[in-house]
């Protein structure tokens, strides 16, 4: 059974992309936490927890992949059939556990982000709850694309939420946010075909683009505060 779909030439880049994603997600978490501290805004706190869960999921992937890549090299160096088999087995268990937590935390985080601006008892809630029950039932079967399908659905609802918010507020940053989440959504569609190695790399690159857009958004938010401050200073 295939453990990773990463092409050989992409082995270190995917971990670097995940480290980058982690840092961007933590930055959003810090903003949300600051918002909660300043305004006691509970919605911001839950949003922050959502981002934190996804960041934590990235940590699981990073460590799992690092161990997996390292062990694979090590077993090659040993070059003995029995020892190699033993190592691959231990790596398999480690990988599946790491990937399980990655899935669980990512989906929980995305669900929290989706849930915050929405009202209680919507059709979306019902559909999502149903999907969560299904995923928990088939988690153990290791069907890689189930995770991507569910992530895709939640991301679709997240994008729709922010489209509705943008329609009301016409706030430019929200448009950027929609763009970032939409690319993340496309990356999940691409990942559905990640058994083709090149497609997996394309999915990762799309994810990188999405997080770069989020980083630009962080820059805009930070710059805005400073710009207003300096404008006030000049008065």
């Amino acid at each position: 059974m295939k453990i990773v779909f990463t092409p050989d030439w992409f082995l270190s880049f995917d971990v670097l992309i995940e480290i980058f994603s982690f840092l961007v997600l933590i930055a959003f978490f810090m903003f949300a936490l600051r918002s909660y501290k300043l305004n006691q805004n509970k919605k911001a706190l839950f949003l922050g927890i959502g981002f934190f869960l996804i960041a934590f999921a990235e940590i699981f992937t990073i460590f799992t992949k690092l161990v997996l890549y390292y062990d694979t090299i090590f077993t090659k160096e040993v070059g003995q059939m029995i020892v190699t088999y033993h190592f691959v087995n231990s790596v398999d268990i480690f990988y599946y556990l790491g990937f399980f937590f990655h899935k669980l935390l990512t989906l929980s985080g995305l669900y929290l982000i989706y849930k915050i601006p929405s009202k209680k008892g919507t059709t979306g809630d019902f559909i999502l709850a149903g999907f969560f029950i299904i995923i928990s039932a088939i988690f153990s079967s290791s069907v890689y694309f189930v995770f991507h399908i569910i992530a895709m659905i939640i991301l679709f609802f997240i994008v729709m939420n922010y489209v509705n918010i943008y329609k009301k507020t016409k706030f430019e940053n929200t448009k950027t946010l929609i763009g970032a989440f939409a690319i993340l959504l496309v990356s999940q569609i691409v990942f559905l075909f990640s058994s083709i190695k090149l497609v997996y790399a394309i999915g990762q690159i799309l994810q990188l683009v999405s997080y770069i857009i989020m980083l630009i958004l962080i820059y805009h938010i930070t710059k805005h505060g400073k710009k207003k401050k300096s404008h006030a200073d000049s008065l």
């Binding site: 949003l47 950027t176 938010i221």
Partner: protein
């Protein structure tokens, strides 16, 4: 109808008004500009003084570096909240 200002919003508004006036303002001017009663004004000024956001010097209220930093952080947070529709 406009929403009632939060506590943090009032503090931020007051600091913003002081900053717009080159960093210092007369207490009465601040009271009118911030749309506060005398009692409210006293309460908020005392809090700002305790937190080191503003100080009273020669019958004027002056914003401190910490106060300027507070406004900057507050504006960033507002921008963040608006982005996510919070």
């Amino acid at each position: 109808m406009e929403r009632k200002r939060s506590h943090t919003q009032i503090v931020s508004d007051m600091l913003g008004i002081i900053q717009e006036r080159r960093g210092k303002i007369k207490p009465t001017h601040l009271m009118y500009k911030a749309n506060l009663s005398h009692v409210q004004m006293k309460k908020y000024l005392e809090e700002m003084r305790k937190k080191g956001l503003a100080v009273k010097k020669n019958a004027m209220i002056e914003i401190t570096d910490k106060g300027r930093e507070f406004i900057s952080k507050y504006l960033q947070v507002k921008e963040f909240e608006e982005t996510f529709g919070l």
